[in-house]
């Protein structure tokens, strides 16, 4: 067992860096329409910020921010958002994942409704990727115990 690694430099730099990293991840997800990026990339960056938190502090500190229960719910929630948007399109009378029909809800042109549907889908992908990254890292680094990192 490795004891908690206390280093004031690493912890201070991490505390300064983690909020901009998370903000940048949200930017990458939200700006996927206009620049390279999207759900997978942004979700990875968001997961990396939590992984940095585990490395700089410890698992207990990180699980205060994002508990295991919430994280597991996030894993499922992303897929539910994605397939739910597809199912809403199906209910409104179009094909599955045919976002153009969403203009019945949002009162915009079908092209804009497609952009909105794409955006919702990216959010779902980002949530799932973030939660899976954090979950896999925590399980691997602690041997499945989620208490402290093992040697």
């Amino acid at each position: 067992m490795i004891n908690r690694f206390e280093n004031i430099i690493i912890q201070t730099i991490s505390r300064l860096l983690i909020p901009p990293i998370q903000l940048y991840a949200l930017y990458v997800i939200a700006h996927g329409h206009y620049s390279p990026g999207g759900g997978f990339q942004g979700g990875c960056i968001l997961g990396a910020s939590f992984i940095l938190m585990v490395i700089a502090y410890d698992i207990k500190e990180t699980k205060r921010m994002i508990s295991e229960k919430i994280n597991t719910i996030f894993i499922v929630l992303g897929v539910i958002i994605y397939s739910g948007i597809g199912a809403v399109c199906l209910i409104l009378g179009a094909d599955y994942l045919d976002y153009g029909i969403l203009n019945k809800i949002f009162s915009v042109s079908p092209a804009k409704a497609r952009a909105l549907g794409t955006f919702g889908v990216e959010i779902g992908v980002g949530i799932t990727v973030m939660a899976v990254m954090v979950s896999i890292f925590l399980n691997l680094v602690s041997g499945g115990e989620h208490e402290e990192a093992q040697e």
């Binding site: 620049s35 390279p36 894993i75 994942l97 549907g117 794409t118 499945g144």
Partner: protein, 69 residues
């Protein structure tokens, strides 16, 4: 009869599918980034499958590695 060369501009996928997406993407999906509109809109099923793969990987890692005491 032969396979088209690598990156041949006159092969069937490059003569009607790609120009169709490049020309119509902005007016059909209002998304300036063609890659995003392709991945999440035209090929929505594919991305749903990719997300499900990630989801399955995460769930299986929890099932295999997590130890409750």
């Amino acid at each position: 009869m032969d396979m088209p060369d690598w990156g041949a501009t006159d092969s069937p996928p490059n003569t009607h599918v790609s120009p169709r997406y490049i020309e119509k993407s902005i007016e059909e999906t209002a998304t300036p980034n063609v890659v995003t509109s392709l991945l999440a809109d035209y090929r929505g099923y594919d991305t749903l499958g990719e997300t499900t793969v990630i989801f399955t990987a995460g769930i299986v890692c929890i099932l295999l590695l997590r130890r409750y005491r």
